[in-house]
């Protein structure tokens, strides 16, 4: 999930009787699965929640380019380099697309990016972990894009039309990335040397728990979920999504011939699901707060890019302005 712990600004759901006529009308539309569009009336909290969630999602796409940028210059074959470059380009595209969806709600891209750089806006905690060997490029595709898809497939039915439509397109591309990521790992496990196989296991060991953290805190620790579910921004709970991800991923893990660093992981016949151990929630909240291995580096890299690019963007604006004046004079 690329958006974690999105604040809705409400701690208790209103009943239909407590709502204003506009709110009631809105809620009934949502309940009837009618998509909300940009021009429709919406509660202020709904708008703000969506801006937070979509901007987090967009920021995640952009920050998420950095751990891959760490390896794109070292991709080991022409084919893998081209694949990784295309994946990174897709992510920049997703970022742009999501910022546009966010702008339909009246938010400004520049302002939201500024919040990110000031440490006021979040992005997915997963990108605060380093990518330390080449197999991470496979594991990120398989686990990170995989976890994102589990969430985003559900978001294709989210109540806000522009966000739902963005998800349809993004899901297609991310499914492709996930298969590519898995293929990187599979090729190394099947035909690789022992050193390559060790890389794969090492990547999974480091990324497994952070991938599970992408779904956010337990449902009973997630005070904003209830409102988001009522507004149908969120369609399934954090714990449900996490369980879905684990259930679909473990057979793939076994097919690879790898393990995850969780001694409590085992199939529960009665539940029809895998049981698994407890996430290190202190680490989760630390990383979210800014105290993860790469938080500092990721934000300072993004900030530097945008700050040092100021003169470039100013030049483009000044040139466009001059061109406009010239055209006006000529006319």
């Amino acid at each position: 999930m690329y958006a974690q712990m999105v604040d809705t600004g409400t701690k208790r759901l209103k009943t239909l009787e407590e709502m204003s006529p506009e709110e009631r009308d809105f809620q009934e539309k949502v309940d009837a699965e009618t998509k909300i569009e940009a021009k429709n009336w919406m509660p202020d909290g709904y708008r703000k929640t969506l801006i937070r969630q979509i901007s987090q999602h967009a920021h995640s796409e952009i920050v998420g380019m950095l751990p891959e940028g760490n390896w794109v210059t070292r991709a080991p074959t022409l084919k893998r380099k081209l694949q990784l470059m295309a994946k990174i380009q897709d992510e920049a595209g997703h970022g742009l697309y999501l910022y546009s969806a966010m702008e339909t709600l009246g938010a400004s891209r520049d302002e939201e990016v500024q919040k990110l750089h000031d440490g006021k806006a979040k992005y997915s905690s997963i990108f605060n972990y380093p990518t330390l060997n080449w197999a991470d490029m496979g594991a990120v595709g398989w686990l990170v894009d995989g976890a994102a898809i589990v969430n985003q497939v559900v978001l294709q039915r989210t109540s806000y039309g522009p966000y739902a439509r963005a998800m349809v397109r993004i899901c297609k591309e991310e499914s492709f990335h996930q298969r590519q990521g898995y293929q990187i790992l599979l090729d190394m496990m099947r035909e690789g040397t022992q050193e390559q196989k060790d890389m794969v296991q090492d990547a999974i060991n480091r990324l497994w728990w952070p991938a599970l953290m992408m779904f956010g805190p337990h449902d009973d620790e997630s005070p904003n979920s209830q409102q988001s579910m009522a507004w149908k921004i969120k369609r399934k709970s954090n714990d449900e999504l996490r369980q879905m991800f684990i259930d679909q991923t473990i057979p793939q893990l076994e097919y690879l011939g790898c393990t995850v660093p969780d001694p409590d992981l085992k199939w529960n016949e009665e539940r029809g699901h895998y049981d698994f151990g407890e996430i290190n929630w202190k680490e989760f909240y630390d990383v979210l707060k800014g105290d993860g291995p790469c938080n500092h580096e990721r934000i300072s890299t993004r900030k530097k890019a945008i700050d040092e690019g100021t003169w470039v963007r100013e030049a483009a604006v000044a040139y466009a302005e001059k061109q406009k004046q010239r055209a006006a004079k000529a006319a």
Binding site: I62, V63, M65, L66, E68, G69, V72, T73, R74, A75, P76, T77, L78, K79, R80, K81, L82, M85, A86, I88, Q89, A92, G93, G95, L96, Y99, W134, I184, D187, M188, E191, G192, T193, E195, Q196, T301, R302, K304, A305, I306, E308, G309, T310, W311, V312, R313, E314, A315, A316, A318, Y319, A320, K322
Partner: protein, 254 residues
């Protein structure tokens, strides 16, 4: 030098120049001055590495000593690389990135355009696809040169500095050697004299629109890439780019 050797050399020049510029651009991942530029520069990089792969594959077939396209890319040392010195220059500020791209794109566009008529069908085919991409690359870099040159005082100063900085590497683009002459005679490569005229013509035209000055044609030029004598930068680029195949020589699949 036989014609076959000249052709192999020529293909490696095309491949290596594409590859090294693609590598330089991919260093910018997540660091471009705007999100739109992130997309555009990765797009150019992708085109270039894709073209490099096509040239390497053909070169590998002709060389025919058991080396694959990947081997040519990842297992040759700097003195065997045949790229233009221009493309190995560091990204610098975005003005340097754009000026480097522009000088290269003009050369690349006219070279590919000519190669679409090559007597060698394989080359003509690769060039026909590549020239479409290069046409877009050139339009984009020309636009940026104009925006920077005729933008703000700061952008004008920066792009002019970049032109001045990189001018000494432009000579290699338009100074033919034995290989270039052989390729022209064989009906494959462009007419060196024509290429030179076209290159200066377009560079001067865009520079004038951008209110920039270009260096002298007879200025001292730093050359050598085409025969494997590079600047100090290439060794570092290869150290990064070739790290995995070099560190794990037993790995046959990635």
């Amino acid at each position: 030098m036989t014609q076959q050797q000249a052709l192999q050399e020529y293909l490696l020049r095309l491949a290596d120049s594409d590859m090294i510029l693609g590598q330089r651009l991919s260093e910018l991942t997540g660091k471009a001055p705007a999100l739109e530029e992130e997309m555009a520069s990765m797009n150019v990089a992708l085109d270039l590495v894709g073209q490099a792969r096509n040239w390497y594959e053909y070169a590998a077939e002709l060389i025919d000593d058991g080396r694959s396209a990947d081997n040519l890319c990842f297992l040759r040392d700097a003195h065997d690389y045949r790229n233009l010195l221009m493309v190995e220059q560091p990204n610098g500020d975005y003005a340097v990135t754009i000026a480097r791209q522009f000088f290269f794109d003009v050369w690349h566009y006219f070279t590919l355009k000519s190669l679409t008529n090559a007597s060698d069908e394989r080359i003509a085919g690769i060039a026909a696809k590549a020239v479409k991409e290069a046409t877009y690359h050139l339009r984009r870099s020309s636009e940026w040169v104009k925006r920077m040159g005729d933008g703000t005082e700061e952008s004008h100063r920066r792009i002019q500095d970049a032109f001045n900085l990189l001018w000494r590497f432009t000579g290699e683009l338009v100074t033919p050697d034995e290989v270039d002459h052989a390729m022209f005679k064989a009906g494959i490569g462009p007419d060196p004299e024509q290429l030179k005229q076209d290159w200066f013509g377009m560079v001067r035209e865009v520079a004038a629109q951008a209110t920039l000055t270009t260096g002298a044609e007879d200025a001292w030029m730093y050359m050598g890439g085409k025969r494997g004598e590079h600047t100090e930068h290439l060794g570092h680029i290869l150290a990064v780019m070739q790290f995995l195949p070099r560190a794990y020589p037993d790995a046959t699949t990635w």
